[in-house]
């Protein structure tokens, strides 16, 4: 059976999660990267196409795959199934806001890693829209779920979401202990979830992140990620390699830098053409980010 996943670059942790899950359960999954369609603007998370049916949303895709008999959880008891649900909720509530913040809201990480990475994978007009749109979505998600109603300001909750996330990583580390997997000897959907959340943080080269340095101290969690990468994602495995960040990070870096420079120059030009866009108040936080590159771009392009 050929399953086709359309990846909209909204959440690459979801994507890693599905790849891990499908490999654990033995489903043949063809990952098709969308980087040219206008669908990126309208659709939301990853999408699974199987024959006639279309499934969206991470949890629904997992239950769909379970119905199609690709289940990594056959050997779990009912109690372990309940534990899986609980830990997934823990990840969603405690770790996701901090991850979103690290990748999308933290200005330094966003300008030097996330934005160029996403922009380089979108065609010309979209590369200016898609990253900032996703960043806006991430910010509003954090504010709406964790913020305090009347004010909704990010600076007030940053401390709280990071301390929550660190606590969550500690708890996961306690739970994992010295084992290779969360339940028994084979990976389950919880392993896929934890991997999907933690691996990007572990392998991405972020310029600033307390969370990443905290994760580095938890050796069993980093070892858990490395182990899954090695066993299920290495190049001699029959399935194609995953998204660039983990495996081919080093070779990507040079290309990434060139692309970053190009993108920055282009965005600089566009900005000059359209000052009005920048002056509208709701765009301000996101329009600030190309600024660090202004000076370098200016020096190489005489006005």
């Amino acid at each position: 059976m050929g399953l086709l996943v359309w990846i909209l670059y909204g959440c690459f942790m979801c994507v890693l999660l599905f790849q891990a899950y499908s490999r654990f359960s033995g489903a043949k999954l063809t990952v098709s990267h969308i980087d040219w369609t206008w669908k990126t603007l309208t659709a939301s998370s990853p999408e699974l196409l199987c024959g006639e049916s279309v499934v969206q949303e991470p949890a629904q895709i997992l239950s769909f795959m379970r119905k199609q008999r690709f289940n990594a959880d056959y050997e779990l008891t009912a109690r372990q199934g309940a534990d899986t649900m609980a830990y997934i909720a823990l990840l969603e509530e405690k770790l996701r806001p901090a991850l979103l913040h690290t990748f999308w809201v933290d200005t330094e990480n966003y300008t030097s890693l996330t934005r160029p990475w996403f922009a380089s994978r979108s065609p010309f007009p979209l590369n200016f829209i898609v990253p900032s749109r996703l960043a806006r979505m991430a910010l509003s998600r954090i504010l709406l779920t964790k913020g305090e109603a009347p004010l909704h300001r990010i600076s007030e909750i940053e401390g709280k979401i990071y301390s929550d996330a660190k606590e969550c990583l500690n708890l996961l580390s306690y739970r994992l202990g010295t084992a290779n997997h969360f339940f028994g000897n084979s990976p389950t959907s919880l392993d896929a979830f934890v991997f999907g959340f933690v691996a990007p943080l572990h392998r991405a080269s972020l310029p600033s992140s307390h969370l990443q340095s905290h994760l580095k101290q938890l050796e069993n969690l980093t070892h858990f990620c490395d182990n899954i990468l090695e066993v299920y994602f290495s190049s001699d495995h029959p399935c194609p390699p995953p998204l660039p960040p983990p495996a081919v990070q080093e070779s990507m870096d040079a290309n990434l830098q060139k692309l970053t420079q190009l993108v920055n120059k282009e965005s600089n030009l566009i900005e000059k053409m359209d000052d009005n866009l920048r002056s509208s108040p709701q765009h301000k936080p996101h329009r600030l980010d190309p600024k660090p590159s202004l000076s370098s771009a200016n020096s190489s392009t005489p006005a």
Partner: protein, 259 residues
């Protein structure tokens, strides 16, 4: 800008040595107002404090939401400190030397936190959804109850404002497109997980913990709140061990102390 956590830590360092005063007061809005979320957290907090053996006096104020330093209810007034929200209150009582989860090891504490997040993630969101996004419930119950303490037109304005806020939140967490039936299904799944975890034990762990207080707060509220239909009630009622769990906590911590 002092964050709530920092404020609590400040309190902790200042007052850790002082014992729990006799005149601690818990403020809550009028009974029935904002019926689900507020009564959940109220039962949760009361159960928690009673499990710790800390006396507290409950006071009803219609504007409790606006008296609280963080704008959230319930909050307690202990000595010369005002602490709001459940997390900080739990930290605060821990600093006073009252903690329920001290007897647990690290793995159990991880499990406890995970189940607490499951309840927050599923039950709390489902309650908010049913309360504010199901059109029949909103028009017949919620808007009226939420607006009761205020006069026209403030009652309508505040209710619509709250509804708008909840809907934005639902959209942000991906629940915006769900139907009520899907939400009932989620509640079922969550209850099933809790029921499997509880099994035949009296509490989730060997001793009563924060998790027991939280689960009791939510389930007891669902069991005692009248809605437009009994679907939610029936879903929870089908798990007999959860029902007897609620009954047990109610008898141990509420009936014996009230009589």
């Amino acid at each position: 800008m002092i964050r709530v956590n920092e404020r609590v830590l400040l309190c902790l360092s200042l007052t850790a040595a002082e014992p729990w005063p006799e005149n601690a007061t818990l403020y809550q809005p009028l009974k029935g107002e904002g019926f689900f979320s507020s009564s959940c957290s109220l039962y949760h907090l009361q159960t928690y404090l009673r499990m710790c053996g800390l006396p507290v006096q409950v006071v009803c104020r219609p504007n409790a939401e606006y008296m609280s330093p963080s704008g959230k209810i319930p909050f307690i007034h202990v000595g010369n400190q005002v602490v709001s929200e459940l997390g900080p209150i739990v930290q605060f009582s821990k600093a006073k030397g009252h903690s329920l989860s001290d007897g647990l090891d690290d793995v159990q504490r991880a499990e406890m936190k995970a189940y607490m997040e499951l309840v927050n993630n599923m039950l709390l969101t489902a309650e908010l959804f049913i309360q504010w996004c199901d059109e029949t419930t909103v028009s017949q119950i919620t808007r009226h109850r939420y607006g009761t303490p205020y006069s026209w037109p403030l009652n309508l304005i505040l209710a619509y404002q709250k509804q708008w806020e909840v809907r934005r939140k639902m959209n942000a967490v991906g629940w915006g497109g769900k139907t009520v039936d899907q939400v009932y299904e989620d509640v079922s799944q969550c209850c099933q997980a809790l029921s499997q975890r509880l099994g035949t034990q009296p509490y989730f762990f060997k001793i009563p913990t924060e998790l027991d207080a939280l689960v009791f707060g939510h389930l007891f509220t669902i069991l005692t709140t009248q809605l437009t239909n009994t679907e939610l009630l029936e879903r929870v009622r089908s798990y007999s061990n959860l029902l007897s769990f609620c009954r047990r906590i109610e008898q141990t911590y509420f009936e014996s102390k009230d009589s």
